[in-house]
Amino acid sequence: MRVVVDYDKCESNAVCMSLVPEVFEVRDDNFLYVLNEHPPDDFRAQLEMAVRSCPTGAISLEDE
């Protein structure tokens, strides 16, 4: 699976980071960095929660 962030929508609320810190990090510059665009399937449930919890709907998961 691939983690896709729409940076036009992202407002760096960082909710994703609190749910999946292994994948998402908002740094001191207040920008979101995706640490691993292709995380293992073990993360799927947490990542789906991040998709549903993103206040701006900026995250999606693509199957590869």
Binding site: S12, A14, V15, D28, R52, S53, P55
Partner: protein, 403 residues
Amino acid sequence: MSLGTVAVVGASLAGLRAVETLRAEGHDGHLVLVGAEPHLPYDRPPLSKQVLAGSRSPADTTLRPANDYDSLDLDLRLGTRATGLDLDSRHIVLDSGEPIGFDGLVIATGASPRRLPGMAPLAGVHVLRTLDDCLAIVAELDDGPRVVVVGAGFIGSEVAATCRGRGLEVTVVEALDVPLVRAVGPVMGRVLSQVHVDNGVALRTGVGVARFEGNDRVEQVVLDDGSTIDADLVVVGVGVGPEVAWLEGSGLTLANGVGCDANCAASPGVVAAGDVARWHNPLFDTDMRVEHWTNAAEQGVAAARTLLAMAKRVEPEPFAPVPYFWSDQYGLKIQYVGASRPDDEVVVVDGSTDERRFLAVYGRGGRVVAALAIGRPGLLMTYRSLIAKRASWEEALAPRPPR
């Protein structure tokens, strides 16, 4: 046991997340979604921000594209209110009189704005909860009104900020001496209220509104101390109350919302989520009712999972989140995680309140229980994780490495 028919009452964020979760996680029976408003589920946070500012069209607030509902296979009842619940015969009643039987029920009716008691309706006096409320306000903003916001909570604060952004003259009237004291405590309540003053809002605290005066429409706001403020537009943001009137007499516990256990269950096969739900959060070992976006999203998922677990006769997962909310005002991102009380210890651990870029932590009983930040979103979320693992107060005060 299969879930049979599930009725979800309330077609906003919590209700939508509940139906999405039910479908994604195995419910293939009949699924009814009842919504009082005529609109498909939409997102409320932009109403006090971008939609009010005129920078986002109302159509851009939908939570899920209209062409993406087929896959949910819903019996969608919009513009329809539920007016009653009978737990014995397991059905709800709609305002048309039609009964809908259910095997599982999700209560997600949200909350509605409190009004100031004893005041006759007057044109130009608004509340802001729904898209239609928002559009009614927007329609009056182009005339350059003098705006009075009653209540310096988060909705009132965002309305004030957005109106200032549009160049309007704004007065905020708050009955408490310190705004937001229940939400963020007295120290940070003062800091957040100063942000309005920084941005040219006339802030009146410790004084209530006696009445609105005007002929055809509002002209003046009269305060308890007898002083008056000229006004062309008033937005009343004095909090909301859970939407439970339709559940009176149902046998459910109704006191500050629908009473639920740690699994969001109000009764066998009946769960609640979002602003309407008061549940026991085991992480803080207290009952809470949370009126914020993230909780509605997360609890909609959790409540649906509880129904699915009940049907499979397995133990549901308790819902033990660290509550989170954000507020965008004057270009500042204000964020909060946790559950504090006004008497918690508060320490600024990063930045400074004077610069309006900082992070403060709240401690109680040797634990970190909350954190508030302006302009520090990534750092704040490291504290959400600390609070979730019941970290000590000392750990919260320790310096964090920059990244």
